[in-house]
Amino acid sequence: MASQKDVLIVGGSSDIGHATALRYVLAGWRVSLAARDLVAARRNADDITARTKAEILVHALDVLQTDKLTDFVNGLPSVPDTVVCVVGELGDQARAQTDPLFAASVLRTNFEAPSLLLGLFAERFQERNSGTIIGISSVAGDRGRGSNYVYGAAKAGFSQFLSGLRNRMALAGKIRVITVKPGFVRSRMTANIKLPAALTVQPDRVADEIFRADVGGRRDAIYVGRRFWFIMTVICLLPESIFKRLRL
């Protein structure tokens, strides 16, 4: 029997983080969560323990404190086999347009902090020459839309960072970098937004795609909800002269 594998889920207080943790536990992995909100992360961990008997380790981590990221990675009891970063904040677009500090925090939460953290894990994985890095980006990063371009621009940056990291790792060794782009997900982040039912998935669907991309697939970038691949391809192909007139 193969020894138990380790996964670290960063953003462990979120609904997608919770669902992802449960998915890995059910497949026999050892799971730890990292989160800023320890009460919420503990709530998720207790849920998984109640369901499965598995013990979940919870680490305190505020990814926005980027000067502490190196210490966090070096201080982990062991280097995980997989790291999944589900950190994200939708942020209110209208507020982001007029409140630069708020906009900066949306940009940092969705782009800067996750990129820097996963970059550090890439270095550790490279020393060991194994590991999988999974970043949860968004379809919103595929093309800037008037309704959420601050969030979208940050996710675009994150997607490009993962793409570059993947390219470098592919040439250097056995480390995989996977970009997961969910469309609409029913979660706390979207609790107050009306979502189109036919295009909206539950967090456990995202978790399942993440897990399958990790253990089974060779895919580098996946859309959750396959029809989003089609939708985004069409959206990206529209000429800017038309696109700019659409309300999206």
Binding site: N44, D46, D47, A50, R51, R188, A191, N192
Partner: protein, 444 residues
């Protein structure tokens, strides 16, 4: 504002939805607001889970807290569904002693309606599996309720339709099972008397229920298939169904009803044909024990998502009454006779035995409960008022979780402890802050 309806799609009412993401944020979200009611997964049929101003969705309270595998005590947040509990724990050898006819209800909703199963006459209602719960009262107070702590509030909240407070989490008891199968037997009852007698005789089985052919009339009035079942032991499972796994997975193949089903699809002829086919198929099984997976046994209709849509755009009413034991044999045939003469197409008609209720305004009382579905039409309301008068005269009552239209007087004559319940509401400020359209309509 959002337009909300219960499972029956009648009535549809505007309300503002509040969606706390964790139990800890419930109080902050309700604050000083009034006219609010908690809502679980929207399986109450009528207006019970629509707040007059605000509706507090418990679906974000969907985490389990702890499970003790030696005692079977499970603590979950109020929005965890029975589907979630059973799909997690049945394969680990644990089950819930009381489950309703759909697994898509939340634990909070199950407590609020004190839901009953096919074993109420033996094991009581959902309240009997509840050890304790935490209740958020209007005005920033959280209290723990159990049979020994705040016991009056505990008894008011069981079946209290959310009108005493917002349930945050609950500790309930699971019990061990050897297999995920039920050993089921079918008996044919050629009329209602036989069905009632058969239900009375099947008290040796844990679960029993009768499916009634509502369109049978004359000497066949109330002809039924009576199902009785027990959890199969490993030995029984091997004896009846060799080669089966003790804990087979749930089949997720779910059929969906399309958005717009024409209302004429359900008519006397189509339902009569369906009933005839269903009855014959069931009768062919008579006396032969069979093994049924827990999922289709307890929740046959859950296999068709949105089956409530088959009644069309105007929605439907489920009329569920309970008739006291000594009057059942005269009153239930009278009801069925009127339904049959009206030519109503009740796709679903179910007869079960009930025991004593456990909450102040819990539905069950010792007797027989009859549940029938009717598509909403202009003439339906007057017809159901006529049925209600039979129920009231027998000393029976209607199930609040199904109700969308009973009158105040029907309600008050059926629930003798209502004044005690109102006192509790006054005591906890429930009367000034918590209000559903059901409570406003019935003056609870």
């Amino acid at each position: 504002m959002t337009s909300l309806a219960g499972w029956g799609n009648y009535p549809k009412i505007s309300t503002e939805i509040l969606a706390p993401g964790a139990p800890a944020s419930v109080q902050q979200i309700i604050g000083e607001r009034s006219g609010l009611i908690a809502r679980g997964n929207g399986r109450a049929y009528g207006d019970a889970a629509i707040g007059t101003q605000f509706t507090v969705s418990s679906l974000g309270l969907n985490r389990m807290r702890s499970f003790d595998r030696t005692t079977g005590l499970l603590t979950v947040e109020a929005g965890v569904t029975i589907a979630d509990i059973l799909s997690t724990f049945a394969s680990q050898g644990f089950f819930l002693r009381v489950v309703p006819g759909t697994k898509f209800v939340t634990v909070g909703g199950a407590i609020a309606a004190d839901i009953h199963g096919k074993n109420h006459h033996r094991d009581g209602g959902f309240g009997n599996v509840v050890e304790s719960f935490r209740l958020a009262l209007p005005g920033d107070l959280i209290v723990t309720c159990s049979r020994s702590e705040n016991s009056e509030l505990f008894r008011a909240t069981l079946g209290g339709m959310g009108l005493t407070g917002i349930i945050l989490d609950a500790t309930i008891r699971l019990f061990p099972i050897e297999t995920g199968w039920l050993r089921q037997e079918t008996r044919v009852a050629h009329n209602l008397d036989a069905a009632i007698a058969e239900l009375g005789n099947s008290t040796s089985s844990t679960y029993s229920v009768a499916w009634i052919d509502c369109l049978a009339s004359g000497p066949s009035l109330g002809r039924s298939l009576v199902y009785s079942a027990d959890h199969a032991t490993r030995r029984e499972q091997v004896a009846v169904g060799t080669g089966l796994e003790p804990f087979a997975p749930i089949h997720h193949a779910r059929v969906a009803v399309p958005d717009l089903v024409p209302a004429w699809l359900l008519n006397r002829t189509s339902v009569k044909a369906f009933n005839e086919m269903y009855f014959r198929r069931g009768a062919a099984q008579e006396g032969k024990p069979s093994l049924v997976h827990w999922d289709p046994f307890f929740f046959p209709l859950d296999a068709i998502s949105n089956w409530n849509r088959i009644y069309g755009r105007r929605g439907f009413l489920q009329h569920q009454c309970v008739i006291p034991l000594d009057r059942a044999r005269t009153v239930i045939p009278d009801i069925l006779d009127r339904v049959s003469r009206r030519g109503s197409v009740s796709f679903l008609a179910v007869l079960k035995q009930l025991g004593e209720g456990s909450g102040m305004i819990s539905f069950p009382l010792r007797g027989y409960t009859l549940a029938m579905d009717f598509p909403v039409t202009d003439t339906l309301f007057a017809f159901l008022d006529e049925i209600d008068s039979l129920v009231v005269n027998s000393g029976g009552r209607l199930y609040l979780a199904k109700d969308a239209r009973q009158s105040r007087s029907t309600f008050e004559s059926g629930y003798p402890e209502i004044e005690l319940f109102r006192n509790i509401r006054r005591h906890t400020n429930g009367n000034t802050h918590l209000a559903s359209h059901l409570s406003a309509r019935l003056g609870i």
